[in-house]
Symmetry: C2
């Protein structure tokens, strides 16, 4: 009985997510979901991205947190349109759901937007299960979190499209290098694309920007498949 309810809720969620993905595709807006533990550096990566692009209006952000507008404020300060969803108003939920994201998408002016980022609540478990309308999903793994997270949270790697290793500047102090973490990711999924970077130093950012550019181009040229319900 309980599992049936969960299944129905997920089906409803995925139907809304598929509508959002299609709407954004029609507008030429690539939607990229970011998942990670709390404090792995999702917002720092988006700040760096905004600074690297000459026009920060190329991007927009929907950001989920249990509480506070802190992350949206950090991005607004750089001129990025940002909408904060506080899940405190949605049962203090540990993840975003497609309905709230669809409402946020409806509020944004996306006429100049090339990439819409959806930054999920910091959590490596439930956010994976709820599609939000993203065309691509990236999981961020910080060197400071240790080597065991890919195996401990397997779906976060198996059901996303890119692993971004963050905080590579901390490698000498945490005894975890980008190479070791890449190996840990590929033990689970040998063909997983991996980018390693430091949002603090800017090291590796080029590869991230290039990935975004390629994915946006593929979307506009119709080479990004429709998002299937999983």
């Amino acid at each position: 009985m309980r599992l049936d309810i969960a299944r129905d809720l997920l089906d409803d969620n995925d139907a809304i997510a598929a509508q959002t993905a299609e709407l954004l595709r029609a507008k030429g807006v690539l939607c990229v979901g970011l998942l990670s533990s709390p404090g792995a550096g999702k917002t720092s990566l988006l700040e760096r991205t905004a600074k690297a692009w000459s026009d920060p209006l190329r991007m927009a952000v929907i950001v989920g947190d249990v509480a506070t507008e802190a992350d949206a404020d950090r991005l607004r300060r750089l001129g990025v349109p940002a909408i904060q969803i506080n899940t405190l108003h949605y049962g203090a939920s540990c993840h975003l759901e497609a309905g709230a994201v669809a409402r946020a998408v409806g509020v944004l002016d996306l006429s100049a937007t090339e990439v819409l980022f959806v930054e999920n609540v910091g959590n490596l478990v439930c956010p994976v299960a709820f599609r939000l309308g993203e065309h691509r999903r990236a999981v961020l793994l910080s060197t400071a979190e240790g080597l065991d997270k890919p195996l401990k949270y397997p779906k976060a790697v198996l059901e996303t499209d890119l692993a971004v290793i963050t905080k590579t500047d901390l490698a000498p102090y945490v005894d975890v290098t980008a190479e070791m973490l890449t190996h840990a990711v590929r033990q689970l999924r040998p063909a997983m694309p991996v980018i390693a970077l430091s949002a603090k130093t800017g090291d590796g950012l080029d590869a991230w920007l290039a990935w975004l550019g390629r994915e946006r181009e593929a979307l506009v040229n119709g080479r990004v498949a429709r998002v299937a319900t999983p």
Copy 2:
């Protein structure tokens, strides 16, 4: 409708948790729950605790993860009785629930145990809502996660008994000191007890061991209140 189901599930959970807490109290076993983001150092702290105590059998551990036995194995290597619960078998849940913990407690030989640790799945949201039978709960906050986590995950501070600041050895590299993080915790909750430590260097470990000793003594002397359902 959905909220009523959630409420019933929580009530059932809390009833089992209260039984577990009472059972452990009768045996003189202090039960301490550990909550944190993934990779904040829960298992490293328990490894350090086992090494600091001349008899590691004074402690036992129940550890929750979505997948792998990695954490239980780390503790078994030090001679600590450890039971791993994989939530993959419980709907891939992002948190432990009281039923699974009660079954694990039933399997453990607790005759020599003074402190039973329950290490939850790495997640700052849902684990807070599910009581497991702990007499005390500690939330671990790593310096590497940044300063904003207490305000973003307020219940993790408001509904636990101790904040443990971890990875203080990284402070110079992440621009977050123990003092700054203590301030962030106490902005939310001025009287929150805070201990800062590094499981890597052992710095600050004495305060943690002293806290455990005091709480165990209070339990045995009947000064720890029964765990009320929240």
